[in-house]
């Protein structure tokens, strides 16, 4: 079974910077198409011409839907997908572990717990992203400290992450039972989704996402050196500990920001960096860009499907994502190739 024609598979990831730039360009184009689809499709479809008309008129039902529903939703899906994919790529690089994505090792759950706690105890929308970030950072630091202190093997680290994740998820569940009427629709939050997302909520998280993304730009080159192993990296003059801590901080900013408005979207952080690695290789400067673009597209497309498949009823996007992403991830695992050049 092949998804791409053979010559495509053989030339991926491209070895030349030009080839990689082309892949990045195509991913960018895909993101634009996905965003356009997300603006057009839903319980009511609009053609691009209708959308432009609506924008020109600046009033009427299509305009209101576009501005108050579709646009915030599109933006939210795009940003959440990009941020979670970036956070996944960062954690995979820092922990040198292909399984270390924010949803597996408890960062998302930490963010969810923080957000839920605040929305139950101090329901003020402005605090949500901060609480979510703090929860994510706390969980990330805890896992990281565990890995440092106990020198955990890769498998043990993942198991520890799962344990942390399940404790935090249990706490989130407990809170939803104790406070059934919080601002966050409980099931929507647990599964992850973008229905009812507003521009104000996304704006509140934007600072965190921007800060996290900016750190990624600074970190990419250093993460490449870290790939050589801790000792080699240190002997090249890299401040290993600082790079790791800043990466964890960046991942927490990204995952915390995203979870504060999208809920516990799993999987994108695990799946997308793997797909991106296939497309552009292991050089983090390319890998992080590709993950961000691909993550945005993936979540946007899943959200479109979630709205369209059983319209006018809507599925939580997390379900669509797992239904689509799971089998694709299996495909990637089964079609691993050993001798490919990843740099």
């Amino acid at each position: 079974m092949r998804i791409l024609p053979k010559f495509c598979i053989r030339s991926l990831p491209p070895t030349s910077p030009k080839g990689k730039a082309l892949v990045i360009f195509l991913l960018g184009a895909m993101l634009c198409v996905a965003a356009a689809l997300s603006l057009r499709c839903g319980s009511q479809d609009y053609s691009l011409a209708q959308l432009l008309d609506a924008l020109r008129q600046g009033e009427g039902a299509p305009w209101r839907i576009l501005v108050h529903v579709r646009f915030p939703r599109t933006l939210a899906a795009l940003l959440a997908g990009s941020a979670l994919a970036l956070a996944g790529a960062l954690m995979q690089a820092v922990l040198n572990n292909a399984m270390a994505s924010p949803n597996v090792i408890g960062i998302n759950a930490g963010a969810g717990f923080g957000a839920m706690l605040v929305s139950c105890l101090l329901p003020a929308a402005g605090l949500l992203p901060a609480a979510s970030f703090l929860g994510a950072f706390g969980a990330a630091l805890f896992i990281y400290a565990l890995a440092r202190r106990a020198g955990l093997s890769r498998t043990t680290l993942i198991l520890a992450g799962l344990a942390v994740s399940s404790v935090l998820t249990a706490l989130v569940n407990l809170l939803t039972l104790l406070y059934p009427d919080t601002v966050m629709g409980a099931t929507g939050f647990l599964l992850g989704g973008f229905s009812g997302v507003t521009l104000a909520v996304v704006r509140g998280a934007a600072v965190y996402l921007a800060a996290g993304a900016a750190l990624c730009v600074v970190l990419a080159g250093d993460l490449n050196v870290l790939q050589l192993g801790e000792e080699s990296a240190a002997s090249l003059g890299l401040h290993v500990e600082r790079v790791r801590l800043v990466s964890v901080l960046s991942a927490a900013l990204l995952a915390g920001g995203a979870v504060s408005f999208s809920g516990l979207l799993g999987f994108v952080g695990l799946l997308v960096p793997h797909m991106a690695r296939r497309l552009v290789g292991g050089d983090n400067r390319w890998l992080l860009s590709a993950s961000a673009l691909l993550g945005g597209s993936f979540v946007l497309l899943c959200d479109v499907l979630a709205r369209v498949l059983f319209a006018p009823f809507e599925l939580p996007v997390g379900i669509v994502m797992s239904l689509l992403g799971g089998p694709f991830f299996l495909y990637l695992l089964l079609h691993r190739r050993g001798g490919r050049v990843y740099a």
Binding site: Q227, L228, E231, S232, S235, G237, A343
Partner: protein
């Protein structure tokens, strides 16, 4: 070039190394030998600034090791650890990482960096593999690529922890000849070797360690004649036609 002054170092409360003092002359090859667990790797890591000292002092190029800034240290001494990860990376990209201590904030390679990378690859004979995946190379080839990375670092001193491990005899000699060629061009080499015959053959100076303490530090000839090898390793050392070989102590 490198001087240990009463150094104690280790990982826990009990130091692995006790009261080690010796000096490495500039432009020499110094080899650390000793039985398993005697602290060779610990000593090398301490010399490379990878392990904090518990007491004593290490001078590198006349300056205390602790006073070096990270990148400055990486421009003075390169370190090739024994356990090397094999990342998914091309040979060229790996060697290019050797220039990391010279890069600015943007981490862009300048023409001088590219020249140093090219030169390091040519010296070690890995230039032809530039675009190849590191993981597709054999152990001996990989070792040379890592050596190329250390050379690209353009340092006065290079620390090598068992560079010949896992290599067959032919490749061991190839690598050691390469190292001694680099040494003749002025590089100071400090390395750990398991193979006593190699150590005696390729070194200017040998530091023999036993249970974290210095037994002696002398020329290969003097080490051979001291009889310390027999005692420390429990073997008999023979010399024949300019080389050394070993037999069990009780044969």
């Amino acid at each position: 070039m490198l001087e240990f002054r009463r150094v104690a170092a280790g990982y826990g409360p009990d130091p692995v190394l006790h009261d080690i003092s010796f000096a490495v002359p500039s432009g020499s090859i110094t080899t650390l030998i000793g039985p398993n667990g005697c602290g060779k790797t610990t000593l090398l890591r301490a010399a490379a600034g990878q392990l904090p000292l518990q007491s004593g002092e290490i001078l590198l190029d006349g300056k205390p090791l602790g006073s070096y800034e990270r990148r400055e240290l990486a421009r003075t001494a390169a370190f090739m650890p024994q356990v090397r990860t094999v990342p998914a990376i091309t040979v060229g990209a790996l060697v290019a990482h050797g220039r990391f201590p010279y890069l600015g904030f943007s981490r862009q390679l300048r023409p001088s960096d590219k020249a140093a990378i090219r030169q390091a690859m040519e010296l070690t004979g890995v230039a032809a593999w530039e675009g190849r995946d590191l993981r597709a190379l054999s152990g001996g080839e990989r070792q040379r690529v890592y050596l190329a990375m250390a050379l690209a670092q353009d340092t006065k001193v290079i620390f090598l922890d068992e560079p010949t491990t896992y290599l067959d005899l032919g490749h061991q000699f190839q690598l050691l000849e390469l190292i001694s060629a680099l040494n003749r061009q002025g590089k100071t080499v400090v390395m750990v070797l398991h193979d006593l015959a190699h150590a005696l053959r390729y070194s200017d100076q040998i530091l023999l360690l036993e249970r974290g303490e210095k037994v002696l530090c002398a020329s290969p000839r003097a080490v051979y004649e001291s009889g310390a090898l027999e005692r420390v390793f429990g073997v008999r050392v023979h010399q024949a036609s300019g080389t050394y070989y070993f037999t069990p102590a009780d044969s």
